[in-house]
Symmetry: C2
């Protein structure tokens, strides 16, 4: 059994896929029983191809010829971004070709349209590499845990953010310093906005929510907060209280609605997610049958991503000419719960003038809004005569916290807006 593969885009991920298909042909054939053959590569920048041994592989400088190539059974879209990626995928499907992509931005924005096109054309659309790189998390949620109602999933899904937060925690450096170094080392893009503002994590959150709950939620319904406001002070106080700060994508079921949100989160040191360091990713999934499970690995990089893309290729190739199995459909229509209704615990850091009555003033207003305190740190004043009061609340409703903070931040002795972080 043989299967022809076309790769559009030979950048980092595409290059990894090309190299893996060329170097691991025997491994793949031995393990899978099918022969996967790289037939066609489309790349505008032909100089990217000079290091590969592409004898017998057709090379094009645009995708048109590849999409019309009868020897290509599976098209790998690895150029990323919205257009022309979407157009290429739809054209491939209309030509009866299966599609493998790593394009989380496109899936998060146009998932339903692409899924419907795959069903209409009786082809498969696969995207294991779109969430958490090398970790086979999509396969785990969609197939391995299929017998479960998913209670919740918590993901560290952006290596750049986790690297920055880990370095801040372990070195005691501030955000800007670590970001600059990460950029120098190639661990962060320039500009870094897509990562550090949380949008990349939100794309993956959208895909994860869709998989867990057989639904397609609009990307705009996901609450997104990045890591740019996390200071070294917060990281240090969290550490002192037994927590690590992680940027989490959270999806959770909640009485006929789901939560879908992305924000920096205090994770207790005893939780496995707290042990996920540097650029690594991990997803903690709680099923009603399986109980808690966790998946860990590299979320990005040439070969880790290629590992996921090639696994999709093989899954499709192993089916041969048999009809596609019933597609995973997004049959449910579930609303995303408003973030104001969120119930949880909160970390609050107040920056105040150092005079009597500060703690009392803060606690009175919190109490009035029904917010009760679980623990507190108040330190002696800084050199600049400001003091910090750090509180961790008992479970409360987000809208109550926000109403209380609106009042507190108007108090005379509050020097800067209060820092607030959610807790796992």
């Amino acid at each position: 059994m043989s299967c022809g593969v076309g790769v559009i885009g030979a950048g980092t991920v595409g290059g990894g896929v090309i190299e893996t298909l060329l170097s691991h042909g025997n491994v793949l054939r031995d393990k899978s029983g099918v022969q996967v053959v790289l037939k066609h590569v489309a790349e505008l920048r032909q100089e990217l191809l000079k290091d590969y041994d592409l004898d017998g592989v057709r090379l094009s400088s645009d995708a048109t010829a590849l999409l019309a190539d009868p020897e290509v059974d599976i098209v790998c879209e690895l150029i990323g971004g919205l257009e022309p990626a979407k157009r290429f995928i739809l054209q491939a499907m209309e030509a009866g070709k299966h599609v493998v992509t790593a394009n989380k931005m496109l899936l998060a924005n146009a998932g339903p349209e692409l899924t419907e096109a795959a069903i209409r054309n009786n082809v498969e659309l696969r995207y294991e590499a779109a969430v958490a790189g090398a970790i086979p998390i999509i396969k785990a949620i969609r197939e391995g845990l299929i017998a479960n109602r998913i209670r919740a999933a918590y993901g560290i899904l952006n290596g750049t953010c986790n690297y920055i937060l880990t370095r801040m925690t372990e070195e005691g450096s501030d955000f800007d310093v670590v970001l600059k170094r990460a950029q120098e080392k190639g661990f962060a893009e320039t500009p870094p906005d897509l990562d550090i503002l949380g949008h990349d994590t939100a794309h993956k959150c959208q895909i994860m929510a869709s998989l867990c709950y057989c639904t397609q939620i609009p990307l705009g319904a996901i609450y997104v907060e990045g890591i740019t406001k996390v200071t070294y002070l917060d990281v240090a106080y969290a550490k002192e209280m037994g927590y690590q700060i992680k940027l989490l994508a959270v999806v959770r079921e909640h009485e006929g609605e789901i939560e879908a949100r992305v924000h920096p989160t205090l994770v207790p040191n005893t939780h496995l997610l707290a042990a996920v360091r540097n650029e690594f990713n991990a997803i903690y999934v709680e099923g009603d049958q399986a109980g808690p499970t966790l998946y860990y690995g590299r979320g990005a990089g040439k070969f880790p991503t290629a590992s996921a893309v090639v696994s999709d290729i093989i899954d499709i190739a192993r089916r041969g000419d048999a009809p596609a199995p019933p597609p995973f459909r997004y049959t449910h229509n579930i609303a995303v719960r408003d973030i104001g209704l969120l119930e949880g615990r909160y970390y609050l850091r107040f920056t105040t003038e150092d005079h009597p009555g500060v703690l009392g003033g803060i606690c009175t207003i919190l109490g009035k809004h029904g917010v009760s305190i679980a623990s507190c740190i108040q330190k002696e004043e800084d050199e600049d005569a400001s003091a910090h009061v750090v509180l961790i609340t008992h479970e409360t409703v987000e809208s109550s916290i926000m109403a209380a903070l609106a009042e507190i931040d108007k108090l005379d002795f509050i020097i800067e807006p209060t820092h607030i972080l959610r807790m796992l």
Copy 2:
């Protein structure tokens, strides 16, 4: 699309599968697009069935009728043990039925025969539940990581052993005390031998090695050492030096051979496997493309195991009447490397009389065999006038260590045989 399921054995796992198929029919249909219907249950002890709503399900007190039932497309063998489980599985395959099993003992002993029978009869044999319960590790290794040469896999695969070792570490209790309590709580079987002597882990190690290296190694080729000789003292010294003791199944490639071994192992606290507590399982897999990945969850229990069994059922059902994909074959013939050739670091605990020259005497003999020391703890004498010397070696060959210990244990001042543990 509809698919009939027969369940042989309604004990803990079988009961979990029956209950999941009955209670999660809608979830399964929505997610998978196929209708899986429980058609037949065979159980000698009919009283086990009284709590389930089995309207319309045929009930038999032995497997014969089920194996001949034309409405059963997939047979779940959930009675465990070698016979009659093997006979039932072979009969089912000869009748053209797919088989799902959780029977690691049978797979480890008769894997090649069962695999060949599946190929011959053009049916599928699946066993996600046989290794690490709810964790979709077989799917991850076989499908998710298919593009990888597996460098190594390290598994905590027996919940009973991990529970005992965790409690010893965290409570400072000795082995017998914790075992007794585990038995009272139902976390350990009576007799506990299959677990604590390492045989259950060896069964899973055999399956894992076969998956990772497309080979079938004889169960007898796996070096097996259980946890019965691990004392509280070892756990405490390991802790002091920054390690946790875990019973690991290790498979590793090694220049045309593979390592396959089961033994208590010192895992550094910085490694994720050290954070796997109590009855949980985890597998750390290193692929040449993916890099390190880790999978964590419940390795046993009614519903976690059912989650895995049902995922296999759905995978088969989703294919419908399409021909089975090319089977995963065990085409390679790789030898298991002799444990004496193992290269690694070792933990050694000597029990000695407390007099001058002890450390010198030990180190002289170790040095003569080419074993060098990385770190050392020597404490003041016990109440009984014996002293302990604990050494951690640099990388060395197992046969050198063993030769050195044979000499050392004959020394006058050595009171009891030296405790030796391998390190990750």
